[in-house]
Amino acid sequence: MAKGKKKVFIPISLYEKVEEEIASSETKSVEEYVIKLLEEKFLKDSGGDLSKEDEDKVKERLKALGYMD
């Protein structure tokens, strides 16, 4: 098993649906798809608004890219 990862079993039918879903996308594997989905879910559930700290970090990045002074 890959270091820092845990095995999860999902129904074959669901696995195949994901395979179909990603066939025409840039997602490389079912694993990548599931990780992305879960990351987005938990980030979304972690609060609607950016904290002040998050917002300051966004501003820093945007300044580095030349989108803000």
Binding site: S24, S25, E26, K28, E39, E40, L43, K44, S46, G48, D49, L50, D54, K57, V58, K59, R61, L62, A64, L65, G66, Y67, M68, D69
Partner: protein, 193 residues
Amino acid sequence: MKLDENVNYIVSGLERSGTSMLMQILEAGGAPMAFSTESRPPDNNNPKGYFELEGGKIINKLMEEDFSFSDYKGKFIKITAYGLKFLPVGQYRIIYSQREIEEILDSMEKMAKITDENRAETKKLFIKLNNMIMDLISNRDDVEVLFADYNAILSEPEPNIRKIYDFLGSEEADLDAMLGCVDKRLYRNRIKR
């Protein structure tokens, strides 16, 4: 082409999510646009230009409530995602670009000429920002929004650019010209399979 002069039209999305490509598509289709190339001319990161106002520093103007939306009614302007947090009450139609987050991060690193040592944190931050802004504009009564998928536009231009054409709601828009300006050669930060 004439758009509704009571409405502010905006192209948005995270930085490096394909907002400039959307502006190119709209310009090709004949949509009225407002942008300046003087303060931020085209470069290797955006060879066809940035299509920005205020030298790309429009977010600062919005935060300071120093941007006159009335000057740009009936025209498309580009305001990247974070700027939409400061949108005053008005009447808006927004085309919001969505792109694979890894491609966005690759492009940001390339543009800033850095290797992001905290890429995982940056990824979380920008996913969170993106979700927050998409929720915000989806729930405002004064905003009509079309979410445009950058990756899908490049892989299947016809149905996806047609959605943009339909959103414009003008028979004067030139769909063929809109389709013609999708340039796969500029799709440089695509994730390799």
